[in-house]
């Protein structure tokens, strides 16, 4: 399994390095015109920090003592990204329970329930049923929760004073881990443990098993890893492009040229909005596709046996 602390460290170092080099690039221009709004302040919006920014200042989020579990140090203090994870969870719970309660009164949902129904029917008819067949309906709540959770987290980053939790590789790594577990659960529940392990051999001669089984196990891990990297890089990249554009305003330091990067920034923000929806949908669609792969091999085997 990937070591997410290494990834988180590397990402943090990468962002700090970008910050340092970019700050050095604008340092002489800043020195000429004095302090004020700094480039480092822009970068703090992308990094994970222990402070929460509010319009009237920043508040410090609670620190907890790191927990030592054997060799690992688990730091459970609430950082900005963790805070927005919880905010997204609470928003989703409140909205969904309210929509479900309101829709219980009549067959036709109204208001928020109507909005949920659009996504619900789309995900059921275009994603869950075609990929997983009729047995996919029992995984539909999981897929819907995943979709709305990722969507709300992506959208919270576009709101002023908000932060994108999914731009943290630990968060997307955790989502990919949950998707990985559900994919194996779906495969095992549909096929049984013996068939599942038998598929790991790939149907080759038993002499090739020592080669085949590690390769297949590695193949099991690459798909959720791709999910993790895709979501993380899309969310991070959107903010990096926006940062580069707004940094142009700081670089030029002229009021006449300032509206141009801002206009481009608005365009990039709209693209980011589209990408937020698209990436949530892609994550859920690929998860259901992989679950369907695990579930369908049983039926094709049955049909093959019936043909005999």
């Amino acid at each position: 399994m990937i070591d997410t602390t290494v990834f988180a460290d590397t990402t943090r170092q990468a962002v700090e390095r970008v910050a340092d080099t970019s700050s050095a690039a604008v340092a002489d221009s800043l020195a000429r015109h004095g302090g004020g709004f700094e480039f480092g302040h822009l970068l703090d919006h992308m990094k994970n920090s222990q402070e929460l920014e509010l319009p009237w200042g920043s508040i410090e989020l609670p620190h907890f003592q790191p927990v030592h579990v054997g060799d690992w140090i688990i730091d459970l203090s609430i950082s900005k990204h963790v805070f927005f994870l919880l905010v997204a969870a609470i928003i989703l719970a409140v909205l969904a329970i309210y929509a479900a309660r309101r829709s219980r009164k009549s067959i036709v949902p109204t208001g928020v329930g109507n909005l949920f129904e659009v996504f619900l029917v789309f995900l059921r008819d275009e994603v869950a049923l075609p990929n997983m067949g009729p047995g996919g309906l029992k995984y539909l709540p999981f897929l819907l929760t995943l979709f709305f959770f990722i969507l709300i987290m992506n959208l919270l980053g576009l709101v002023p004073y908000g932060a994108t939790s999914t731009s943290n590789i630990s968060v997307t790594g955790a989502l990919a881990l949950i998707a990985f577990i559900m994919i194996q659960v779906a495969a095992i529940r549909a096929q049984g443990v013996k068939q599942y392990i038998a598929h790991l051999t790939g149907g080759v001669h038993w002499a090739l098993w020592p080669i085949m089984i590690p390769v297949e196990i590695l193949g099991l891990f690459t798909k959720p890893f791709a999910l993790c990297m895709r979501l993380f890089a899309n969310m991070k990249g959107g903010h990096i492009v926006l940062l580069a554009l707004i940094g142009l305003v700081l670089l030029f330091r002229s009021a006449i040229l300032a509206p141009l990067p801002v206009l481009f920034g608005v365009g990039v923000l709209m693209l980011e909005l589209f990408v937020a929806f698209l990436q949530a949908y892609i994550f859920v669609m690929l998860t259901s596709l992989f679950m369907g792969f695990g579930m369908e091999t049983e039926h094709s085997e049955e049909h093959a046996e019936q043909a005999h």
Binding site: Q13, A14, E16, R17, R230, A233, I282, M285
Partner: protein
């Protein structure tokens, strides 16, 4: 050349190559979509949906390489 200079150079060249690959792939995809829409306008919606999905998958592969370029450029 020093090690850092080589790392920056490779990150830059890598990013350029990545953009070439991604733009070529998505360009071919868009061309196929437009051709299919021209032949049979009724299925334009389905073809557009499939195009968006394929484009997102291609971009997923793009971002792998991009993440490696970022690591190359910023690792101490």
């Amino acid at each position: 050349m020093g090690t850092f200079a080589l790392a920056y150079l490779s990150a830059g060249i890598g990013a350029g190559l990545i953009v070439i690959g991604a733009a070529y792939g998505i360009g071919k995809l868009a061309a196929a979509t437009m051709e299919a829409t021209g032949r049979q306008p009724e299925v334009a919606g389905q073809v557009r949906t499939a195009m968006i999905i394929a484009a997102a998958l291609i971009e997923g592969a793009t971002f792998f390489g991009l993440a490696i370029c970022i690591i190359l450029a910023t690792l101490k």
